[in-house]
Amino acid sequence: MQELEMAGKGSSVRLTRKNDNVVVIEKDLATEEMVLSMGPQHPSTHGVLRLECRTDGEVVTEAEPYLGYLHRCFEKHCEHVDYPAIVPYTDRMDYLAGMNSEMAFAIAVEKLLDIELPRRVEFIRVIVSELNRIASHLVAIGTYAIDLGAFTPFLFCFRDREHILNLLEWASGARMLYNYIWIGGLAYDVPADFNKRVGEFVDYFRPKAVELSRLLTENEIFVKRTRGIGIMPADVAINYGWSGPMLRGSGVQWDIRRNDPYSIYPELDFAVPVPDGKLSDVGDCLSRHLVRALEIEESLKIIEQCLEKIPSSEGFDPRAAVPKRIRPKAGEVYARAENPRGELGFYIQSDGKSTSPLRCKARSSCFVNLSAMKDLSRGQLIPDLVAIIGSIDIVLGEVDR
């Protein structure tokens, strides 16, 4: 290929000669920065997020996230409804992991009320929230694969997620917005054969998880697109308040189920996976994906242990400890739980007189994780930006609340 410069000075047209055909390859090259709006309706932003990118050619010099398109005034609503009525709202925050959100809120209020729960309630809570964690990670992995151009893993993920949703629907009556974990207990006990079916699912799903990681994690194209992209060093990640798989992807072994344990997690044996730097560069997009893939296996382990240890349903009343009227004494609490996306915390302030909180703030994990986007995107290529957003695994319902 031969390159010609036409007419010398003053013209910005560059020509290329190829097999005696003259092809104009660059004409009136604009060299200034361009502002490019990605979203709110863009498949790679996983919902209604808008990124205002300043681009220099294919390189993003800065990407500023704009949020709030899905703001539904969660915190304002909380001040006007009773405590039990807030639980359905928490479902609608992180709609991919409703059980985990409910559990975090229930823990916060229970801490404020200082009530003790029946053991079987704790076990059922852990089983359903770990099932929900697997379902949520499956969506995260599946949609991440789609972002990077792989369609089959997505179908595999959604096929298996369907089984989990069926199980949770059987227990609670709803597929995504459960209202199952109540303050002080559960809405219902699980159906008679539930534990058996969950056991069957675990046996069915184990080989499928291996198959999935064969298909995706060992895929050359996938690794090329994610390895070494969007590296976040551990100290910066902590300073940004990252949590969950994002923080562990940077090599920090921090899991609230371990480090600030709640419910029955201290009795259970599970590992907190962090990347070792062999398959991925620590802190890159691939590490974050790997952590999610490994966590699925840990969740399966937790579920198996719970199925073994769960007390029998004889004489069990899931609503035994549910208070008739929730009116906590004056005080405040900050309690959190490990969600699939990181630390979901609730700051609740009670005045001691009202049956609804004076102030209820939800500390959303993706909101905090996303706030590093501006720094992460600097100097990346546009296709890599898509890989980075996907690896953050945002749910806009929780970001905007």
Partner: protein, 172 residues
């Protein structure tokens, strides 16, 4: 602080960190409130908040390197607005503590700690958006969840929603 034997271990750790901060800043911070659900102290001299934050982050005995949460709160009876910060130390110490900072409802402001913890950047923007708290020295204090031209501060107790927004009827 340690005399109460029924205080949990977590609160004792918290009290130990408080005494380090109290030694340095003295009367600029309030007494330690050792309630079991969220032990906290309050910054009385608001102007020192950034210094205290930096001290808490960098002191070798404290190392509060992680800000879990920053919530804006309205205190209408005292004519004040405030923030509650939940801090902890990841990977260094097992302690965690909450800090409160308050300012006047009219014309008051709180120094920004976005330069100390990056987490505070968006959380302070949210507190500004929802309660109208001014943060001095914040790099980019804009509304974050509401549109830029929204009127009023939604989470204040005396908030009245606007009648219409760009010709769209708001309250239903």
């Amino acid at each position: 602080m340690e005399e109460a034997a029924n205080v949990s271990k977590e609160v004792q750790l918290c009290a130990a960190t408080y005494s380090v901060i109290h030694e340095k800043f003295g009367d600029a911070i309030s007494a330690f409130d050792q309630n079991p659900t969220m032990p906290f102290f309050e910054v009385l001299d608001t102007a020192l908040w950034t210094d205290i934050a930096l001290f808490m982050r960098d002191h070798p005995k404290l190392k509060f390197n992680y800000m879990a949460c920053l919530s804006g709160v309205d205190y209408p009876e005292e004519e004040k607005l405030g923030i509650v910060c939940n801090l902890e130390s990841i990977g260094v110490y097992p302690h965690r503590i909450a800090v409160k900072v308050r300012c006047a409802r009219q014309g008051g402001s709180i120094p920004s700690v976005a330069c100390v913890w990056h987490t505070a950047n968006w959380h302070e923007r949210e507190a500004y958006d929802m309660l109208g708290i001014q943060f001095d020295g914040h790099p980019d204090l804009r509304r974050i969840l509401c549109p830029d031209d929204w009127e009023g501060w939604p989470l204040r107790k005396d908030y009245r929603v606007q009648e219409s927004y760009h010709g769209i009827k708001v309250p239903y």
